[in-house]
């Protein structure tokens, strides 16, 4: 019996110490980040989170926030709409959260954006590409990446310029992959290409031979895949096994070392598009990538630069609000964010009336000797 | 419908498994109000006959006609077990099959399933008719539990698996009676009981007959068969080999041969 009393006492004391851990009060503002830290897209999500962390630490070190310390509150949406809404509620319940670095998946940002809107808190995404998100008319919602519409519209003429006419399209039946593939399908004929087929595969499936055999039979010039790196890698591998030497083109979901790892030698010569200018073009980008690698010991794969820019854009806007008003006023922040003119890792960012970036640039990369080499940068800017 | 019309009339009933004829062109009738015992060595097709009657197996051919109050005859062939039960044929199993984790009372209440009608909606809305019926079922079940002495009443809210062996046998019979069968098929009711229990049990079964149930009993215990049966039918190799009162059947050459083995007949 006595044993239990002692045990209980230990817990009581422990709990008391934990409660006392809260340090002295200082002026704190919180930046929220909701990205998938677990689930199928945990890898890019964690990269984004790390990039935001890097930005926050730099700002804190520079101490330019009018006496405020910046705290980062990271939440996990696990790429699941339900958890995204939960996480958004959790952040919005914390009155110190001034702005949010939002979501990787459109399926998460769509339902969660309503909650940011209700709370009047700016949410800015660096990776969601569904056009619908910014069309809801919420002034708090921004994004700095181009939409599926831009990437798809720019891909079709690029294929045409390569001298390839007959396109077979495959997509992975996800919001992202299929959305993009549909734009390419619709834009292709306008730039004079012929769409031979349009087929979906299941994520997680490994056997694409039956589908590829069918496509091979139609003799396309090029195979376009809308989807992520794992399936892209397997597809290109199995294409080569079946003796298909056609050009393989994919999207930013396949941009990253994972694609080359998964596809092996087959990826040589494959082309993928990535939103934004080539990172190595920009001095800032080089700088960022070096810092990231130093801090986290891994190389940037895909969306880190976007998250880093989002964090910097938000923090810049917050600091100028604090300069004007003395406090991080959320309402003023919306106006301030709208006026953004920022030169960052991914290039210049400014927003149109929907909150979409005006920087509508994508770059095509070719895999050469196991590395991505920029081939061409195209833009929709006037 | 005269008094001599059998309650159950089986005609040319056959059931085989692969090459084995478990029941082979059997004809038999069961008179209302009698206790008919089925005897025969192991594997002679007695239990299969019960399974065919109660709808568990579909016979290969033949018919099973049950006399019924509202219509002359119903052919039980092709009906599923619960339909057969609803028509008025209840049964027990050789190896007791109670709902072990349900209470004694609930076991009996399940037996009344086909004699009650309230559905899911009635239960959810607690309709008056459903509540009334539920009360009736509880009362009726308790009354049935008192049928064999009263030892089941005090334990009626304990799980059935907690009962001693003989009481489990009794409970299974009560569950079968709860469906108000006119014909009750009992598969070795006394198996596993000691002679003392068997004697008490025999009286219980006779009380059932007096209550108006017709009994068809598979039994190995000859003392029980003798003391209980109005009529005896002997089976061997799926065929009926003898029929009559106990003494008659016991003296039948073929029955003796079946029981003692045919070796000395051949060798």
């Amino acid at each position: 019996m006595r044993r239990y009393f002692v045990l209980g006492l230990c817990f009581l004391v422990g709990g008391f110490f934990c409660a006392c851990q809260r340090g002295a009060q200082e002026k704190v503002l919180t930046l929220g980040a909701v990205v998938p830290l677990s689930g199928p897209a945990a890898a890019p999500g964690n990269e984004m989170n790390n990039a935001v962390l890097l930005a926050v630490d730099e700002w804190n070190a520079a101490n330019k926030m009018g006496g405020y310390r910046i705290a980062l509150e990271s939440k996990d949406d696990a790429s699941d709409p339900k958890q995204a809404v939960s996480a958004a509620h959790a952040l919005m319940s914390d009155s110190q959260v001034v702005a949010v670095v939002a979501h990787l998946n459109s399926g998460c940002f769509l339902p969660a954006s309503k909650i940011y809107h209700d709370a009047g808190v700016v949410a800015m995404s660096g990776a969601t590409t569904n056009p619908q998100i910014t069309l809801q008319g919420f002034p708090e919602i921004f994004r700095i990446c181009t939409t599926d519409l831009v990437q798809g519209e720019l891909t079709a003429p690029f294929i045409q310029q390569l001298g390839l006419k007959r396109i077979a399209i495959i997509h992975d039946k996800t919001q992202y992959g299929q959305g993009l593939a549909e734009v390419v399908r619709d834009a292709g004929p306008r730039s004079g290409s012929e769409i031979l087929s349009f087929d979906g595969i299941d994520i997680g499936d490994k056997d694409f031979r039956a589908l590829l055999t069918k496509i091979k039979d139609a003799h396309p010039d090029v195979i376009y895949f809308g989807g992520m790196y794992d399936e892209a890698g397997l597809l290109v591998k199995q294409m080569r096994d079946l003796g298909m030497q056609q050009q393989f083109i994919s999207d930013d979901g396949a941009f990253g070392q994972d694609f080359i790892d998964a596809g092996g030698d087959g990826t040589e010569g494959a082309i993928v598009s990535m939103v934004g200018a080539p990172l190595t073009d920009l001095k800032k980008a080089e700088d960022f990538m070096r810092k990231y690698e130093q801090r986290f010991g891994v190389k940037i794969q895909n969306y880190g630069p976007y998250a880093y820019d989002v964090a910097n854009i938000l923090l810049t806007a917050i600091s100028s609000v604090i300069e004007q008003k003395g406090v991080p006023d959320k309402k003023a922040l919306i106006e301030e964010a709208r006026k953004t003119e920022y030169d960052g890792v991914i290039g210049h960012t400014s927003f149109d009336e929907h909150g979409d970036t005006k920087n509508k640039v994508i770059t095509f990369y070719r895999v050469e000797k196991g590395k991505f080499t920029p081939v061409k940068t195209v833009s929709m800017n006037k | 419908m005269n008094e001599n019309t059998p309650l159950l009339q089986i005609r040319r009933l056959s059931k085989s498994f692969g090459g084995l004829k478990a029941v082979d062109a059997v004809d038999l009738g069961v008179q209302p109000g009698e206790i008919l015992s089925i005897i025969g060595p192991n594997g002679s097709g007695k239990t299969t006959l019960f399974n065919v009657i109660s709808g568990i197996y579909l016979p290969d051919e033949g018919e099973i006609l049950l006399r019924s109050p509202d219509q002359p005859e119903i052919n039980l062939v092709g009906l599923r077990p619960h339909q057969v039960t609803a028509k008025g044929v209840g049964r027990t199993f050789q190896n007791i099959r109670l709902f072990a984790n349900m209470t004694v009372l609930e076991n009996v209440m399940v037996g009344m399933h086909c004699r009650s009608s309230s559905g899911a909606l009635g239960a959810v809305l607690q309709a008056k008719s459903a509540r009334r019926e539920e009360r009736r079922v509880v009362q009726e079940s308790q009354r049935l539990l008192a049928l064999f002495h009263s030892q089941l009443i005090p334990v009626m809210n304990q799980p059935a698996k907690a009962l001693p062996f003989a009481d489990r046998k009794r409970l299974e019979i009560i569950r079968a009676i709860a469906s108000e069968p006119r014909l009750l098929l009992l598969d070795e009711p006394a198996a596993g009981m000691n002679p003392h229990e068997t004697r008490a049990f025999m009286d219980d079964l006779k009380r059932l007959r007096d209550r108006g149930h017709t009994l068809m009993v598979i039994e190995h215990d000859m003392m029980m068969v003798k003391g209980l049966s109005d009529r005896v039918i002997a089976f061997d190799y799926g065929r009926k080999i003898a029929e009559g009162v106990f003494e008659q059947v016991r003296r039948n050459e073929m029955v003796i041969e079946a029981y003692l083995g045919r070796k000395h007949g051949i060798a």
Binding site: K82, G107 | N157
Partner: protein, 387 residues
Amino acid sequence: MDVIYTILLVFCGFAIIVIGLSLQHVGPFLVFLAFVTAGAIFLSRLGWLRNFRQITNRNPRSLYFALALCIVAYPFIFTLLKSAYWIHVAAIAGIYACLALGLNITVGFAGLLDLGYVAFYAIGAYSSAIFFRHYPDARWMFWVILPAAALLAGIFGLLLGSPTLRLRGDYLAIVTLGFGQIVRIIATNWESVTNGPKGIADIPGPTIGRYSFETGIPVGSLVLPRVANYYFLIVLLALGIGVAANRLNHSRIGRAWIAIREDELAASCSGVNVTAIKLLAFAIGASFAGIAGVVYSSLIGFVDPMSFTFMESAMIVCMVVLGGMGSIPGVIVGAIVLAILPEKLREFEQIRMLLFGAALIAMMAFRPEGLIPSKRREQELLETTDE
């Protein structure tokens, strides 16, 4: 005196839950959790838990009264704590409670393992999403869709059940699993209706007359957040479903379910129409999931096929098993615990499913009856002798 004890006990439990939820960081929460668990073990060693139980059993009225009070107070407390989040989580937990109650009917009562249960949930969610996609302004129709979706899901339950219920239990498990996959594949591919993988967004909240679920609830000077509407709705629905399940459990139908679970052949020979009764279990379980699906789609405002994977089914199965198959309070507690714990323990998100798998095996080996086993038999004893 007992009445006061009961009410105090419930309030203490509620206070512990509220404190636990409002601890923001995982460290203090874990300490708190360990503390509470140690306390519970300590009390049970002293035999107090049994005393508590006896006291509350003697005063069901005051128990229910206190519980109701806590449930109503919950959103107010968290509004004062400025945390719409926990109200939202409670609403999600309520949805899971409905799902677990529904699955409990097929798995717990009738003993039919349904591994594709999420399909019916999806059918409910999609029927509301598809309707509002075409008629976004007919928001009051929510109240029509709710029962209609239950009916529709029930019909699908019958459709799936009728060819497969003659199968043995384990075949059934795999066929239902396949059915769950088929529903997801169809939702992904039938784009003209379901909008495919892009999902259906902007599903509006319901209205009652002038009152809209899109606005907060003003109570005096306090305004409860928007989610509180859903919280109250789902509490009412879960309550209704719980009561319905309880009444079914104690009815002729419920007894037949248990009977076929115990011994199908004997049940059949006792006059139970096995196929019909199994189908009924399937259909009723499915219709509960349909209701949960409709509320889910309005609460989240977005429906896509990826929300209805096998893991979601497995999660609901875990809730039922953890709580105790066949036990109504058990599965409700199971659902609430498994819905809230992941929110509290986000740090362990990665190993969540691993722990679920291990817990499932361990539960089956050591405590297959669940944390709060079905007290069916005891209760029945009291009730029937009273009458």
